[in-house]
Symmetry: C2
Subunit: 338 residues, 2 copies
């Protein structure tokens, strides 16, 4: 009763047709919801019944071949273990599902070498790609595939993408500096991401512009706590007056700074202010909680998918920049008296 067709093979639309006493074409019409006026209600019902009885599930490979499209998009990000990208994926996957699309991930998380042909190893045939500019190696593999491409966090003047979607990180940095300047800070350290990406260049430029006339040093670190800790510790030990505020490209880096500060006995925020970027779960897990720039990560993924859908539908997809906001928390305070 549960499994009416225990015979190994999966039932096809032809099996359903046979069971319902109609032709395969009729089955396709009925199950494809395009039969108003072409098939009688009685027949349609019997087809639906037979399909249910047999547990019929259409063969996606066959459908995709026939239709020449797959309703599948690939999301290319550097690492899902970075919570930000997990949120981006969530947004993209939900928007996709809403339109009957699926999402597959680029098969090389964490920068571990991809298969020789990543687009073959993500076996799903693709209708389009959404890619973060942070996944540099993957982008090379994308050249040559004529697939529609939505770029995230990349220079909007770059052609070669079908659409561009960005976060207003320059504004984010301006809000951070505005906040810190108002608190009296004049000596800054910028703990920047060592990953090359347009988005980090933009942040650095915005910082340099906003902090013109103050003291600003820059140090780079990979996106993990241990390296950030080390980089910050090195900077704190450097000769000359210590910065009173550390501006980080990412919450993860900021957590490393917090650890370095604590180990040196530097009190945050009394002696040192620290800011993050992204507003991940980390930001409120640590003590003090991080002042940071909140990025609409899930919306970012959602809009990226929507842009891709627009491109696929032949509609225009103008470049978009999403606003960000500053979240003031305990890790920033008035600059210490000189």
């Amino acid at each position: 009763m549960q499994s009416p067709e225990p015979s190994g093979a999966r039932p096809t639309s032809r099996d359903v047709a046979r069971a319902a006493g109609v032709s395969q074409a009729t089955v396709s019409l009925v199950l494809g919801e395009k039969w108003r006026g072409r098939v009688s209600e009685r027949t349609a019902e019997s087809v639906r019944l037979a399909a249910r009885e047999l547990g019929y599930r259409p063969n996606l490979a066959a459908r995709n071949l026939r239709l020449g499209r797959t309703r599948t998009a690939m999301l290319v990000v550097p690492a899902l273990t970075n919570e930000f990208f997990a949120h981006v994926h969530t947004g993209a996957a939900l928007a996709a599902a809403r339109h009957g699309f699926g999402v597959v991930l680029y098969p090389s998380p964490d920068g571990v070498g991809p298969a020789r042909d990543p687009f073959a190893s993500a076996q799903a045939a693709l209708d389009g790609v959404i890619a973060s500019s942070m996944a540099a190696d993957a982008l090379k593999a994308l050249r040559g595939t004529g697939l529609p491409l939505v770029m995230l966090d990349s220079d909007p003047s770059d052609p070669g993408a079908s659409a561009h979607l960005n976060l207003d990180v320059a504004d984010g940095m301006r809000r951070v500096t505005g906040h810190l300047l108002e608190l009296g800070h004049r000596r800054f350290l910028h703990l920047a991401s060592a990953v090359p990406s347009w988005t980090f260049d933009v942040r650095a430029a915005a910082l340099a512009e906003a902090l013109r006339g103050t003291e600003l040093r820059t140090v780079r670190s990979p996106l993990n706590v241990a390296d950030a800790w080390e980089a910050a510790d090195l900077a704190f030990g450097a000769p000359g007056p210590r910065p009173t505020a550390v501006i980080c490209d990412d919450d993860i880096l900021a957590v490393g700074v917090l650890k370095a500060a604590r180990r040196r006995g530097l009190r945050v925020p009394e002696e040192l202010s620290v800011t993050g970027f992204d507003d991940l779960a980390l930001a409120t897990a640590v003590e003090p909680e991080l002042t940071t720039v909140r990025l609409p990560a899930e919306e970012f993924g959602r809009r990226g998918m929507e842009a891709l859908l627009a491109v696929l539908a032949g509609e225009p997809a103008p470049p978009v920049t999403l606003p960000v906001s500053l979240v003031r928390r305990g890790s920033t305070g008035p600059a210490p008296a000189v």
Copy 2:
């Protein structure tokens, strides 16, 4: 020179055949690497050349249809934004890529309602499924599809799965209790996950067994910091003597406990010991760092995929339980004197 065939349509194996002056079958033989003795080296080379010139990429949908398999597996987890599952995905995706497989994710992250038919909305046709028992709603949708199924964190005696893979969480809890008992603790609070899953039942049972003869209360909370904070705060405010150690089902819950403790002025570990589970990045981000049970998350994903591959190859896939380890850090210390 870069794009030798600017004509809109993607080249097919027949186009390559025409360009190389051979038949389509020969192209398939050569590119399929199964031509030793069937095609001359000269011909093979000319085929490869033509393919490169045209930028030929095989149509996956057609191949999948022909071969009746897709080399694609679906991973079903509750939420990628839980770092643990992001690691599981990484492990599974890497193992998959090593065997020319792709991985797609169940299209309903975060428990947001799935599409009416999640397996249609993840458009990729599937060869098999790897599912965490924590994704309860998804599991229902799995009933009826005759797909090979590898269950993670689920009762090994449950039939209906092609293979079982578990983490030795009972041992993990025994190590936690051993550590705490040795430190002199006798009054415990178990902050348990409110998500129903076999793995949490096992942990609770192991705790009850190991802490027989001591004082043990249990409180449940969803897996996020805010709820855990509230649950812990409520427990701390309850009448009667306060527990001296809180054992959490997850690092996220433990972070919530840390926050509740700090807000009440309870010093950790001097007045209260706290343990987590998973050893996520969170565990070392907070202060004090969490004593926790390290789970081999990435290996878990890798082994899950390998088990699925074994099942698909017709090989036996006996149930496996992976060992875990205790990581002692600053959040646990000697029980305070009564």
